[in-house]
């Protein structure tokens, strides 16, 4: 099974700001179009390794970013992935 995790944003501004905030940190991530199986206000999402999503979220919150949702997708080739919404709030 291949899992990947996603963070979504309320507006494009926050997606791009997230990229800018994280670029000097040691995270592996990519800005990607939001997968169709996720509903998001903004068309760009951040994809990362699931082991890192909590640390990335913390880094973004520290920089006053507004985030919308957190998801784990089980990807199975071109078939619709299985989506699990994550509750990362303390």
């Amino acid at each position: 099974m291949v899992y990947s995790c996603y963070i979504t944003f309320p507006t494009t501004y926050f997606a791009i700001r997230a990229e800018s905030v994280l670029k000097n940190e040691d995270f592996v991530f990519k800005m990607v179009p939001v997968p169709r199986s996720i509903s998001s206000s903004c068309g760009t999402a951040l994809r990362c390794q699931c082991e890192e999503i909590t640390r990335i979220k913390d880094a973004l919150i520290q920089n006053d970013l507004e985030l919308e949702g957190f998801y784990r997708l089980r990807e199975e080739g071109l078939r619709t992935p299985t989506v699990e919404e994550l509750d990362l709030n303390e």
Partner: protein
């Protein structure tokens, strides 16, 4: 473009109209605007493909650079607009409510006077003008006594586009802050050529244009809005986000931006901002001050001229207005261009009350506005031309 128009190179023209729009721009500004159109091919916030992200990054970088310019931490508080006039409309119409009283200075441009006049004619607001001295400085004693219980806003023209006089921002902000009054600074003439520390001075809003001292293309500009101050949007529409709901997003900067931005313009503006950062505002200020002082002293040597505004020692933005005894200013402008290739602006400069303050209404003045790229040799040539013209006028 009409190919028969000669390029605005120094071989043909000497440019003394930087207060209208700066010229030349750094070479990188021209290139970036063209490159954005030719190569970036994506609309920020729309679609998710890589070229759109590249376009998004350019716009975001321009926001970041402006946040640094005004020394504020959150780039989301910078919203883009067409120009300073547009930004001032967003600020005034998004902030003012029925019954509000607004204070403004006599040096304000029509970009402030007309929206305020319109709101007043609709019966929504009342206003009081702070008179200005012959040199263009607001009367601070008058200000202290002008507040009313319903006063909600003070509009300050940072530097006059007629005289170059710089308003005492700190004193005026302190005066307004004591009374919890929101301050809107019109920085059309100063953003990029004077230090404006929004954080230290606790400025509520700054309207700026991209095509003057920020050295960017026309059609760019914007508004800084301090955190915690929520304006009602003047325009609503597409933002590329939250598309399923018919309510405009509330978070900044999308809150005050709708529709596709001037992306190629902003790519150029970003390069203008980089040029300013690399050169340093202090260097730009010093050069412009020296050039203005040099010009002022040369003009002072000509007895036929009446010069308005700050003298050669006082801090000023790079503008000098003058008249020549009994000669129509427009006529001087015509001769300067057609006999000497010198470009300047004559008349009222969209600031009728400023001309009333300095006693040049309705005839207006001849306005010279050198810029960062103006040289001492340019000024010597201009001064020689003016000596010829005054000799002719004395005829």
């Amino acid at each position: 473009m009409n190919d028969s128009i000669e390029p605005c190179t120094n071989e043909h023209n000497l440019y003394f109209d930087n207060a209208a729009t700066s010229w030349p721009k750094p070479e990188t500004v021209y290139r970036a605007a063209e490159k954005q159109m030719r190569q970036v091919c994506g609309n920020p916030g729309r679609s998710g493909h890589t070229r759109t992200l590249e376009a998004d990054r350019l716009v975001y970088s321009a926001r970041e650079a402006l946040a640094r310019l005004f020394n504020v931490t959150d780039p989301a508080r910078i919203v883009f607009a067409l120009n300073a006039t547009d930004a001032l409309n967003i600020a005034l119409k998004g902030f003012l409510a029925k019954g509000d009283h607004v204070l403004y200075t006599a040096m304000e441009h029509n970009s402030v006077l007309r929206p305020l006049g319109g709101l007043q004619r609709e019966g929504l607001i009342t206003t009081t003008m702070i008179p200005c001295s012959f040199k263009g400085y607001p009367d601070l004693d008058f200000l202290e006594n002008a507040y009313r219980p319903e006063t909600s806003m003070l509009v300050i023209n940072h530097a006059s586009n007629v005289t170059g006089s710089i308003a005492p921002l700190e004193e005026m902000l302190n005066s307004a802050r004591k009374r919890n009054i929101t301050v809107l600074v019109d920085a059309a003439q100063t953003a990029g050529s004077q230090n404006i520390n929004a954080a230290a001075l606790e400025i509520d809003m700054i309207a700026f244009t991209g095509h003057k001292s920020l050295l960017g293309p026309t059609g760019t500009g914007g508004l800084y809005v301090r955190p915690g101050l929520d304006l009602k949007p003047l325009r609503e529409g597409g933002t590329g986000s939250q598309s399923e709901i018919d309510r405009h997003p509330e978070s900044m900067p999308e809150r005050l931006e709708a529709g596709t931005l001037n992306n190629s313009g902003l790519a150029g503006l970003l390069e203008g901002l980089k040029f300013i950062e690399e050169t340093g505002i202090e260097t730009i200020m010093n050069h412009e001050h020296k050039i203005r002082s040099y010009l002022y002293k040369k003009l002072q040597e000509m007895p036929a001229l009446t010069i308005y505004g700050p003298d050669s020692k006082e801090a000023a933005s790079s503008i000098i207005s003058f008249t020549i005894n009994n000669v129509d200013s427009g006529e001087i402008g015509y001769i300067l261009e057609n006999s000497y290739g010198i470009l300047c602006r004559t008349g009222l400069h969209c600031a009728p009350l400023a001309h009333k303050a300095i006693n040049t209404f309705p005839a207006g003045t001849i306005r010279l506005s050198p810029g960062y790229f103006t040289t001492y040799a340019d000024i010597d040539y201009l001064v020689d031309a003016l000596k010829d013209i005054t000799a002719l006028a004395a005829g």
